[in-house]
Amino acid sequence: MTVAAIQTARLSKNYGLGRGLFELDLHVQAQEMFGFVGPNGASKTTTIRCLMGLVRPTSGSAHVFGLDCVRDYVAVSQKVGHVPGDMAQFGSLRGSEVVAYFGARQGRADFQYARSIAERFNLDLSRRYREYSTGNKQKLGIVLAFMSRPPLLILDEPTSGLDPLNQQTFYTLLAEARQGGATIFLSSHVLAEVERTCDRVGIIRAGHLVRVFDLDEMQRIRLHHVELELGSDSDPPIDAIRAAAGVEDVKVNGRIITCTVSGPFEPLLDGLRGAKVIRLISREPTLEELFLEYYGEAPTAITTTR
């Protein structure tokens, strides 16, 4: 039996006044790509800090590759590449110096690899850190986390500040790390991001793990707010739209129709067959909307799909 990359048991960090992380049971297998999703303030970062041994849990336990995150935090950090939620400040140090500094501290950094990552992100390491934009600081954080090719990558909202092109580069890098055998724990508040990259997704809210989905389940619960504007030369196929599978909350305002779609779009598109669609806008719900839709205000039940 292989050791879990991440295993927590009733892991709690209570900051008082109802804030913190409560009784988190999580199991991430080796070489799995696990998404950890939750709105701001859901305790994603607290969870990561507990895993990194930066924060001592109030109760419960956390293990990385069988190592206790509190007692064996040095050994844990040897196996983990970490992108923090807020990149540290390095003032007037150059990017190349920051890489050299942390490369030496890691002791196992592959500087050729670090260089190749910097090249792919077009990150000029000769510039001083304080001259870097937010995105460039984030890129440097990614270089530092990946350059030692760790068996586990714990990434706290790693794409925040990256433009879409660099996000694509990052996803490619993630896929390569995965192919290289790494386990990835990706925290995000963007559902679509984890959906496109991860095998399983854990959803956390207000310090409680709400549910762990696999990818199929995730796509089933995906909900889109859709707004359609139809041309005036045909009658709107209202009945066909209402009858389409997964289509709900259909509202008609003249030639503008709004509805929600869960699951695939084919039934809706079939219902629209023959109608002249002038405009179609599909918007993903925010995490808060998703929670309200599915769980109401106080989700605490934990259901794990393995």
Binding site: R49, L54, S77, E97, A100, G103, A104, D124
Partner: protein, 541 residues
């Protein structure tokens, strides 16, 4: 404008509260202390005044000589308001450079400008807020003087206390506005160092002009000169209205220049930009092998600061040697002082005098250096660097030990190189210092610095946000303890526990082995305690 003014006051509230408290207690202690030590009869106070004048000669490089130190007003003007001028200037320096560049880095300036506040208004709001705060803090000193005098059963004019506060406030505002302007010229990185160097130069022009005549024509440049022209607490003394007006006019002019400079530069950039050249991007890591060696890489990271501190302390050491020569030589020529020297000075007068003024001042400098390093540790905690460091395979105990080792080596570099410079300059000035004792005195500054460093390490491990303030308070308290302990008849063990007392007088009296042992004990316990606290605390939470 009003909103910005209130926000600026709020941002500076801890400075106002802290310096107000310091001003109050320093003044109160000195005022009450006068009645404890000056005697009650006219003849006792005359004798006290004479001894104070002799003592004051040793400090003439820092504080202006006293006028009428036989009176409570003259004494407090010299002992309290002389020292407060330096403290308020440091406060102005830190506050203004933080307002200009620190707030820019934190995004506060951008947020304010984004709300439609003009740059001149922003500068005006900051100056007005600091002016309010500094006057409040200065008035606290004035109030303490009145309270202290009342406790001695005497009375003085409240107007004199208010005038002393006005003079002190005017100096602080002038230093603030000057810093505000100077900090616009350079990069954020060097703003405080640049402005600090200019203010220190202006201070030294005035104070050294008391010894070196060639500086007299230049002292009109120094705000400290105009401050010293007022002596409202001294019987018969007044607030020099013209000098105070010059300070305030200079403050307004500097603030206007700062506003104009701020209008002309980009946010986050320097007004005066050094030429840069285009170069292709590089994706290589630094090739310097120094980054690979533990401790050495941290020293290398701090090389500029270490160089500046070493050069600064060494230069001041050399200046103090020259001062010793120029102060002691005329004193030795006064026959009336011969009994005093034979009674109170052991061994060579030059050595004793130099040991007292230089190593007393060097202790303050090294305590300041330790506080600066501890501030860096606290900053590493708040800016996320510590989180990233301990996310690498390095134990927290090792972080504490590496910090202590780096501080030790830095203190060793500063103390040994400045000791060498002092030895060379003393030889050039024909002052023969015992080389072995000079080396001991210089090296003893290392454990002295580490005492503050390890106390700071414990604080930084436990409460990083309050570390600098608490360590600064500890340094001031332990220094004041040695100065005022005998006056207020505080327990001997308490005074002896001060690092400033533990250091002793190694140049003139040899190393105090007990003091050294206690300092080393504090260092070991401090490192152990900070390692323990660091091991158990949450990081980044």
């Amino acid at each position: 404008m009003t909103t910005m003014y209130v926000l600026a006051l709020r941002l500076g509230r801890w400075g106002i509260a802290g310096f107000g408290a310091i001003a109050f207690f320093v003044t109160l202690l000195q005022t009450v202390g006068f009645y404890k030590i000056a005697g009650t009869t006219e003849s006792e106070r005359q004798a006290f005044g004479r001894s104070m004048r002799v003592l004051a000669a040793q400090f003439s490089v820092i504080i202006a000589p006293p006028m009428r130190p036989d009176t409570v007003g003259g004494y407090v003007q010299f002992r309290a308001f002389g020292a407060l001028a330096i403290m308020f200037a440091i406060w102005a320096l830190a506050s203004a450079s933080g307002a200009v560049r620190g707030d820019e880095e934190r995004g506060l300036v951008q947020a304010a400008l984004g709300r439609g506040i003009s740059r001149p208004r922003l500068v005006a709001a900051r100056v007005a807020a600091f002016a309010t705060g500094s006057v409040v803090a200065a008035l606290a000193a004035g109030a303490a003087f009145l309270v202290g005098v009342a406790s001695g059963g005497e009375s003085v004019s409240a107007a004199a206390a208010v005038e002393a506060a006005i003079a002190l406030g005017a100096l602080a505002i002038c230093c603030y506005s000057l810093t505000l302007f100077l900090a616009q010229l350079t990069s954020a990185r060097s703003a405080i160092a640049f402005a600090g160097d200019i203010l220190l130069t202006l201070f030294l022009i005035n104070s050294l002009s008391r010894t070196f005549d060639f500086l007299v024509p230049w002292r009109w440049l120094s705000p400290f000169h105009y401050y010293e022209l007022s002596s409202p607490l001294v019987p018969g003394g007044t607030l020099d209205v013209r000098a105070t007006f010059i300070l305030l006019a200079a403050a307004i002019a500097a603030a206007a220049l700062a506003a104009q400079a701020f209008r002309l530069r980009d946010v986050g950039a320097a007004l005066v930009k050094l030429p840069t050249w285009r170069r292709p991007p590089s994706y290589r890591m630094s090739r310097s092998s120094l980054w690979r060696v533990p401790i050495v890489r941290d020293l290398y990271d701090r090389r500029i600061g270490l160089l500046v501190w070493t050069a600064g302390v060494s230069a001041l050491g050399a200046v103090f040697v020259v001062l010793t020569k120029s102060i002691v030589k005329p004193l030795l020529a006064i026959p009336a002082l011969a009994p005093y020297f034979s009674a109170f000075v052991n061994g060579d007068v030059f050595t004793s005098f130099f040991a007292y003024i230089w190593f007393g001042f060097a202790q303050l400098l090294m305590a300041g250096f330790a506080i600066a390093q501890v501030a860096r540790w606290a900053t590493e905690d708040s800016d996320g660097r510590l989180e990233l460091i301990v996310s690498n395979p390095i134990s927290r105990v090792r972080v504490v030990l590496e910090r202590a080792m780096v501080l030790t080596l830095e203190a060793l570099v500063i103390s040994s190189l400045s000791g060498v410079v002092v030895g060379i300059e003393a030889h050039a000035q024909s002052i023969e210092l015992d080389r072995w004792r000079l080396a001991e005195a210089a090296l003893l500054l290392v454990p002295f610095t580490l005492v503050f460093g390890t106390v700071g390490a414990v604080l930084a491990s436990r409460i990083p946000r309050a570390t600098v303030g608490l360590l600064g308070a500890f340094a001031i308290a332990t220094y004041v303890l040695v100065q005022l302990g005998p006056i207020f008849k505080l327990p001997t063990w308490l005074v002896d526990a001060s690092p400033f007392k533990l250091y002793g007088q190694p140049l003139s009296a040899g190393v105090d082995q007990t003091g050294l042992g206690v300092m080393l004990g504090i260092v070991v316990v401090g490192i152990g305690a900070s390692a323990l606290v660091m091991q158990r605390r949450d990081i980044g939470a």
